[in-house]
Symmetry: C2
Subunit: 295 residues, 2 copies
């Protein structure tokens, strides 16, 4: 267990992941653009670095957990402080951020040129999954890279190797497709129940345990029933995810009529001012149609 | 536990439900149109009746588990052997078949005229849920009727009272909406994964435990990955369920664009010869579009 790990990005997801790695006994160096978030981990045993390049200098494995593909590119490659300038030969770089598959493939190519190995390994499960170490982890890259990453990933969740470089990001897009569509399914179901005079909260409860059961019915269905659309995810991000899936799909000759319809519906919700509400607010967008009869 | 129960309909679902009731210690009389299916339950302790009217003569609670609303109407009301002619005053009739909400409401009215009480209580969970006694049970009717039914229903699964007469059937339609749409979500996700070079079986496995997880991903996702579309449910029944939801919705001023799209997609699958395959064969219908580019 003397694998040295460097974690770049200590935000809502990165911080609890860092705590899991420390709890598992890994020596850990952390870096964050706003330094105080990294410093909060010092107490738990992390070393805090000033730059990405410094953070990765002693690392066997580098983990990035950043906001989007542009930030990952900047932190890894752009400018004199970028991680690539500090990497030792043979370092494994695991990007657990959610970025486009084509970006992940480009990063893998550039890392190979720097004598490093890449694995894309985005997650699903949110901050609760990160804290509990139960994240679903979708990994793309070489079999050998996955084998090397596996024990480290298992400190944070349940990793599965789904295919070559970029496949982890592709799997994450499919995750977001299912999430976005299932939210629509639950919303329409609860709206029909409500219009027919049934109690939507009771219907949700009744459906748990049958074939309609899902994490979305459990978590987002509860938000719909309570009318609690405070932002955890957001309509804007759900829309971006669906558009990214359609974008990746278009390059592959993929035709997804359901994904396309849902992108349209989330777009309409965003247009109607719901962008910064939780994505379960698709319920509100669909509810508004019940009165106008808009098709 | 001396509540006498009569069960009308001993098919794929009714038979294991009868066994759960017998195991719970209820005196049980059974009837089935094709008598040998009822006789199979005699060994487990059931009395076998010749007609619905005879079956219900000593019952405190009558349970119907039949193929559709027309059959329920026939067994309860049509002809001299119909159950209504044997019912004692005050009998509780629980229809656990899946029928239209408006049919359930009409049956409740006719049963009230015969001094009986009605509860509509359709289920989700399939034959496995019936055997294990873990069915999701959605109950519509009076609070008092539900309270009286609850211990009996608990021998078969997890009952929830969702609203007035017809609400149980409405909840079942919402269950089928979520099932039908989520199958579409999982199908599109696995198809995109496949086209992008990821392993769909591994992607399904990776997504378990994240926010995309559902009974459908577990059960029907597995069928898609294995290409095993042998009939359990069927495309034809899924289409009928979605059309019934849209029919019930139309009467309530409900607008469900996602349900509408899925009805169109299952219809196209049926038109393309997939009617008698499992409803997870929507995967095949969507897969075929990837090659033709059909919109």
């Amino acid at each position: 267990m003397n694998t040295h790990i460097s974690l770049l990005g200590c935000g809502l997801m990165g911080a609890p992941m860092a705590r899991r790695l420390l709890a598992a006994g890994y020596p850990l160096t952390v870096w964050n653009r706003t330094r105080f978030k990294a410093e909060a981990l010092a107490e738990a045993g992390a070393r805090v670095a000033d730059t990405p390049a410094e953070a990765v200098a002693r690392a066997d494995i580098v983990i990035t957990m950043l906001e989007h593909g542009g930030v990952v590119q900047t932190v890894l490659f752009d400018g004199p402080d970028a991680a690539v300038h500090g990497l030792r030969a043979g370092t494994l770089v695991i990007d657990m951020s959610s970025i486009l598959p084509e970006q992940a493939q480009a990063h893998a190519t550039r890392l190979a040129e720097a004598d490093a190995t890449a694995l894309d390994a985005p997650v699903s499960g949110g901050t609760l999954g990160a804290e509990a170490g139960t994240l679903a982890i979708m990994a793309g890259g070489d079999e050998a890279a996955f084998a090397r990453a596996r024990p480290v990933l298992e400190a944070m969740g349940r990793p599965v190797h789904v295919g070559p470089a970029g496949s982890g990001q592709l799997a994450k897009l499919t995750n977001q497709m299912i999430v976005g569509i299932t939210i629509g399914a639950v919303a329409e179901a609860l709206l029909l129940a409500e219009r027919g005079g049934a109690d939507p909260a009771k219907v949700r409860e009744a459906l748990r345990g049958g074939f309609a059961d899902s994490r979305i019915l459990e978590v987002h269905g509860q938000r719909m029933v309570e009318g609690d659309f405070a932002k955890r995810g957001s309509m804007a991000i759900q829309l971006k995810d669906l558009n990214n899936a359609l974008h990746a799909g278009a390059q592959l000759g993929f035709e997804g009529p359901i994904t396309r319809l849902l992108a349209t519906l989330y777009q309409q919700g965003v247009d109607h001012g719901l962008a910064e509400l939780d994505q379960s607010a698709l319920f509100k967008e669909l509810q508004a149609r019940q009165h106008t009869g808009e098709a």
